[in-house]
Amino acid sequence: MAEQHAHAAEHDDHDHKPHGWRRWVYATNHKDIGTMYLIFACTMFFIGGAMAMVIRLELFKPGMQFVDPQFFNSMTTMHALMMIFGAVMPAWTGLANWMIPLQVGAPDMALPRLNNFSFWILPFAFTLLLSSLFVPGGAPAGGWTMYPPLVLQNGASFPMLIFSIHLMGASSILGAINVVVTIMNLRAPGMTLLRMPLFVWTWLITAYLLIAVMPVLAGAVTMLLTDHFFGTTFFTAAGGGDPVMFQHIFWFFGHPEVYILILPAFGIVSEIIPTFSRKPLFGYEAMVYATASIAFLSFIVWAHHMFTVGMPLAAQLFFMLSTMLIAIPTGVKVFNWTTTMFRGSLTFEPPMLFAIAFLFLFSIGGFSGLMLAIVPADYQYQDTYFVVAHFHYVLVPGAIFGIMAGVYYWLPKWVGNMYDQTLAKWHFWLSTIFVNVLFFPQHFLGLAGMPRRIPDYAVQFTDWNMVSSIGGFGFGLAQLLFPYLIWKCVKSGERVVGNKAWEGAHGLEWELPSPAPYHSWGTPPSETMIARGAAH
């Protein structure tokens, strides 16, 4: 037995892997697939970002200067689809691929070939979606929410949109199945559920959300497809259908989707803050239960996205109250993170900076979220820039900063080199300043009465739109530092000495050498390693 283990350990060091294109196309190694996911996500982030730049450019001042309104609508629609399904979700799956096996002491993901398949679906899905920009009638322009009857007015791009959503959904479901099976079956002996790092916990819960709601989205868009091509009338009142039913189905997917985008960020922040506070996470179990409650609540709040559609009073009250309840577990999380820093020994390396910005700015998004739950006030906020400001606060300094914090945290482990921390701090400060210049004024615009998804506006909205656009350009440019930093780190970073890249780091990934060997945990980690790494 001991001999076998020794042999396995030796095997680890060999790192033999296929070379050239085969390594990537036939990839079954979780690290290679994770890398591909992350590069893919980064590419989509910049394409989606370029679309945002078109939006902010047109909105820089009143009057139509650059694009046709229809193209503007395509930009808002495609920007959302690219960022949600192309950038944030694949980035999380990439991080899950890289980190979950390392963190639970597994040699790889449980289903490596499925893993390859779920990644390689994505380039096809997004090529299909992006090529719709070049078909007659232009790209989808009915909003990423795809409300009928409007979405049915799209031309040739309509079936492309539906099919690409099917592909993205299939990819996410397969990825989620892989995460669940890995966590449930491949944990090292001694790695009990309540010893798992929070990134693993939040991803496990996210994976269940994905498996629960992606089929709902697939069903909804399939009903659109048959309405359009096969004469069904699910969503057409003239045939006995109901356009509002689509909204109910869509948001039954859509609200859990919001948590799919943010829960892994909760996990990452829960790893980073203890590391740089040199102190265990406060209230580990409360964090797990809070995450689970948020996930449960996410299934019973969907209609808060549609308070203006004309629901019965009782339904509006129910959805208002259930939505407000989410503030409780979310509050618990924020208080726990704060208390983790309390009486710690803090240092402010780039991952910690991003995590702290996350704490503040995500909370602002949380506050505006609470305001949006209040139905009468929501009648004024709904479909205005106040909503745009709200969800961008949650998604940019929330989800995206979470991803960046994670990359800055684990990059030395992946590459074996430390990145240029000074430059990373520049990236942090520029991003944090500009993200506020970009999105904070949008609260004012929304409250003052500017609807969202409009290509042009009344002149009194000019000042804050200009500020917002300047923030947008600044934020967009600052992001170019990110791939440059990573590239520089890979090419010429300083070698990381030892297993830990950070003084206060705990967890199984830091028990492995840097860079993490191509095949890791062929021999399961010892009980002492697991105990040393456990978060509490």
């Binding site: 009143p62 102190k279 208390t339 009468p376 004024q380 998804r453």
Partner: protein, 295 residues
């Protein structure tokens, strides 16, 4: 020492909040001063505004406390200042129970007035006047159900010319750019006006911030909404379609011309007569020009 610091911090926080509050004028006309929701001109819109401000201030207070604790920790417990981590601080049932319970109480404080206002908003009984509003791509149709008066309302010509791609017309020279229409909706002050809102093609949303009314116009369904403008607040009130409805979604404003009861009655009578005349068969040989105008 700590207490002195806390007091200092509290003072600073109070100053910050007050300066922010000072920059929130209740009524600002344009540009930089446009920061907050309008109080509007109906009882409901004022209640919504109060609700909005109540939640806003609750959020500000919570933010000051929570952000204060974060900043306090970040400033105080730096390794560079020699802070040593207290690794035993991992769990405290009492504290955790407290910060789970307090938010529940705060939420109840928010939910009760919100629910009350909502019940009022949903009460569409005892209305004085009913108008059917139909959203179409891209404009609004208004039908006065009791008098048969009906007409379309679209973006006015000047705005429409200026909003063309690279029109060369400076939007600042256009009166109420994108917020003016050819024929506004005319309603009386002091009467409970019921709107029956529907859509002709896709979903639109009828929104006038000053009335606190936003309701989706959905094809095949009729939504109800109502407003009652203060008797001392006649005037023009502007809004826009609030639900993405295709290419010209940004160009289907709403203007409501609120008049005194007498003025409104007179207008409605004229309008009814005008429409009857236009609809009646011409007595003499049809004049091509007037027929075209009537059509």
């Amino acid at each position: 020492m700590i207490r002195a610091k806390m007091a200092q911090f509290a003072k600073l926080a109070a100053a910050l909040v007050l300066s922010f509050a000072g920059s929130l004028p209740a009524h600002a006309e344009s540009g930089w001063g446009l920061l907050n929701m309008t109080q509007g001109v109906t009882e409901i819109s004022r209640k919504i505004y109060d609700l909005h401000m109540e939640i806003f201030w609750i959020c500000v207070i919570i933010a000051v406390i929570v952000f204060g604790a974060m900043i306090w920790s970040i400033v105080t417990y730096r390794k560079s200042k020699g802070a040593v981590a207290d690794v035993t601080l991992v769990h405290n049932t009492k504290v955790e129970l407290i910060w789970t319970t307090i938010p529940v109480v705060i939420l109840v404080f928010m939910a009760v007035p919100a629910a009350r206002t909502l019940v009022e908003i949903e009460d569409t009984t005892k209305t004085d006047l009913s108008i059917k509003v139909t959203g179409f791509q891209w404009g609004w149709q208004y039908d006065y159900l009791d008098s048969g008066v009906a007409y379309f309302s679209r973006l006015d010509r000047k705005s429409d010319a200026a909003r063309e791609l690279m029109s060369g017309i400076d939007p600042t020279t256009v009166d109420h750019y994108l917020l003016s229409v050819d024929k506004p909706l005319v309603v009386p002050v002091g009467m409970k006006v019921r709107l029956l809102i529907t859509g002709a093609d896709v979903i639109h949303s009828w929104w006038v911030p000053a009335f606190g009314v936003k309701k989706d116009a959905i094809p095949g369904f009729v939504n109800e909404a109502w407003f009652k403008v203060d008797t001392d607040k006649p005037g023009l009130y502007r809004g826009q379609c609030a639900e993405l409805c295709g290419r010209d979604h940004g160009f289907m404003p709403i203007v409501v011309d609120v008049r005194s009861k007498a003025d409104f009655e007179a207008w409605l009578k004229d309008k009814a007569a005008e429409q009857k005349q236009a609809a009646a068969p011409p007595a003499a040989a049809p004049d091509v020009a007037t027929a075209a105008a009537a059509g």
